[in-house]
Amino acid sequence: MAKKKKKIKAIVKLQIPAGKANPAPPIGPALAQHGINLMAFCKEYNAKTSHLAGNIIPAEITIYHDSSFTFVLKTPPTADLLRKAAGVPKGSSEPNRIKVGSITRQQLREIAETKMKDLNANDIAAAERMVAGTARSMGIEIVD
């Protein structure tokens, strides 16, 4: 049956490893405060993401005032895509001084295209600027 409009209580995005949701932190405290059925979320998330194990797959959960909820899966975090593209295990601990790696403009465009539907960007250039901003804050340079 089609969904009927309900009042939104909160929207929570979880960036968690695919197929491994469980009621411990961060999922437990993040969702328990809104009074929703944690186990139902974990079961459904794991069923939908177990084939993507090894990746961080965000879930955006919309919680309604009657404690029901819906969720959608999102594209992997920009930081994750940047790390993979640059081939570095993690971002720089001092991104303003120490650069840990680089990606090409072509890779920047590809990541922006992947993230486009989830970013609050009007066009691909705006998406690229946002991805480049995240890259800069991780100490990853953009090279030609």
């Binding site: 089609a2 009927k4 961060p26 971002g91 001092e94």
Partner: protein, 290 residues
């Protein structure tokens, strides 16, 4: 084991970088609170560090990493809160109430005990994604209208059965046969499971499909759908054709402002609205054959 909750308030764009820093110290993931508006700009990123012997050292490194990030774009200092580990699922179970609807209907989750009063019928339904601590107003309206009209011996059609709640209630309230139709295969599975759990599977038959898959006529039709679907189903007298001459249609899922167009579609297609029930912005209409 306790946890240290780290919270950083920032904007959506910066949230990516903050999450990346926090997830280095909290590999089990981060939670980003986006407020109550889909396009809200202020967000809170939270992560949880296990409070073991190395906590202070990890906390210090995390603060340093956030400080460096703040050199690129200003960032407020993180806030810390110690929280005790507990069963995070427990509070939710306790929050699920036993619901009383109409005069006789009681809906309870499987983990709650309830001794019914004389005449009450108890439905056991566990909340899942679809409903939480209460029922949607349209479900309550349909249950109340159903309770008022259902009689032994009726043949009932439930269009858009979902969890099966209306079909189960009908089968519990009277000795009736119910055909529960839904175009979502998950709903068909849920209806079957819930019918079995409530001991009415012999009288509730789930069917995958829509109105077109149904033949014969019924004493009572339940259609808790949405206004455009009700209008579409009413067209060419398709809905009226499934209703016996003295039968009842309980239609819901329409908002108050949609009453005119739905009632007009009914009246133009062999149905006559005789009663309306309202809760919040929602309506249920009771109709007969014109």
């Amino acid at each position: 084991m306790d946890w240290l909750e780290v919270s950083v308030e920032t904007d959506r764009e910066m949230a990516e970088a903050v999450s990346e820093v926090l997830s280095r110290y909290a590999p089990q993931g981060v939670a980003i609170e986006l407020g109550d508006e889909p396009d809200g700009q202020r967000v809170i990123v939270r992560a949880y560090l296990a409070a073991d012997d190395s906590l202070e050292a990890r906390k210090r490194r995390l603060e340093e990493a956030l400080w460096h990030l703040g050199q690129i774009r200003p960032l407020p200092a993180p806030t810390f809160r110690r929280i005790a580990d507990r069963d995070w699922t427990a509070g939710w179970k306790e929050s699920i109430p036993i619901l009383h609807i109409g005069k006789r209907i009681v809906i309870k989750p499987s983990w709650r005990e309830y001794t019914p009063q004389a005449g009450e019928v108890v439905l056991e339904l566990d909340p899942g994604l679809a409903f939480g601590t209460g029922l949607h107003p349209t479900t309550r309206l349909c249950l109340e209208a159903l309770e008022a009209r259902v009689r032994d011996g009726m043949r009932i059609l439930d269009l858009g059965s979902g969890s099966g709640i209306l079909a189960l209630a009908a089968a519990k309230l009277a000795r009736v046969e119910v055909l529960a139709v839904d175009n979502d295969p998950n709903a068909v599975v849920a209806t079957r499971r819930n019918a079995r759990r409530n001991g009415v599977s012999a009288r509730v038959r789930p069917l995958h499909g829509s109105l077109e898959a149904v033949s014969g006529t019924y004493d009572l039709i339940l259609a808790n759908l949405l206004a455009p679907i009700l209008i579409r189903m009413a067209a060419e007298r398709k809905l009226a054709a499934r209703l016996k001459p003295q039968g009842w249609l309980i239609a819901s899922g329409l908002l108050v402002e949609q009453e005119g167009e739905v009632a007009a579609a009914f009246e133009a297609n062999g149905l006559h609205v005789v009663e309306r029930r309202r809760e919040e912005d929602w309506l249920a209409l009771l109709a007969t054959r014109a």
